[in-house]
Symmetry: C2
Subunit: 180 residues, 2 copies
């Protein structure tokens, strides 16, 4: 693939796993080529360079998979925000969750579209294994988005219920009292 194609792949399929943009991709391709892990397999119009993996590159990927364990840390700014939600009024917290629901329903729809496209596509013996692995990752994306939406709806309800039970006394009011 070319840098441009990779950038689009990262924007689409790989977005949930590893977001990377073109200012990272082009230097990375140069460095990989320098180390002999990829090579320019084709040059096209508009200075387009298509890269292909080398045998060493393929071995390096396998070494990475076999000899290192995944970094399981994860970052989720939306969840970080939830820790501070008590600094807002209940109605603001509710609209935070509404925004999350909308955004993730959109992502989910995108993944569902991808899956529908994938199912229609025919694979030869050579790409079938690749498509199979990508399908496993896609399934994770679908489940993640569905679960996130369920959670956000649940959380929204919790906030609304809490607001009703405290009878108009919103988190920030309590906070204002506490500060004195």
């Amino acid at each position: 693939m070319s840098g441009y194609e990779l950038a689009r792949l990262f924007e689409g399929t790989l977005a949930r796993a590893w977001p990377a943009q073109h200012p990272q991709i082009y230097p990375a391709l140069a460095s990989l080529e320098e180390h002999g892990l990829i090579h320019v397999s084709e040059e096209g119009p508009r200075r387009r360079k298509t890269y292909a993996i080398t045998e060493e590159g393929r071995e390096e990927v396998q070494r990475w998979l076999r000899e290192t364990s995944p970094d399981r840390r994860s970052r989720n700014e939306a969840i970080l925000r939830v820790f501070f939600l008590w600094l807002l009024h209940a109605d603001e917290a509710i609209s935070f969750f509404d925004d999350e629901i909308v955004a993730h329903e959109r992502k989910l729809a995108g993944f569902e579209q991808t899956r529908a496209d994938d199912e229609r596509r025919q694979h030869g013996a050579d790409t079938e294994a690749v498509a199979f692995a990508a399908g496993l990752a896609l399934e994770w994306g679908l489940r993640y988005e569905r679960e996130y939406i369920e959670w956000a709806k649940w959380a929204r309800k919790q906030v609304a219920r809490r607001e009703r039970s405290s009878d108009g006394k919103c988190p920030q009011d309590e906070n204002a009292v506490r500060r004195q």
Copy 2:
């Protein structure tokens, strides 16, 4: 809180949302203090400095919550690896998922412990809102881990089924054929 306490908080409760370690935390505290968003509220043994948020700091957090939207990009190295799993033998792919299942079951158990501790704890009116918000985030952690484990078990089964149906012909063999 002190830098040390914050580091432990990030290791525990905040780990799923925002992993940060002490070399980031100490300079960040210095910078926040410089900008008047926090101040040293107490000095203790071993050069311990306890910081507290200032009114400006609190306002800045609210501004962040109100005026910016969350960065919803996410990174998951394990899922990235799944895209390349077709480069391994089926039994290696299966043990990848086994490792994932074990690791995430451990994380899930940790979150469940946290929730059990939280439920036992009594909250005054001043910390109740904080605990409520943290509880929403914790619920996300629990759901995430449960869903991840379900997915990993499903994916493991898919790989095992595929291996049986291809009758010993593992992904790498196909690949070896393709390369010629």
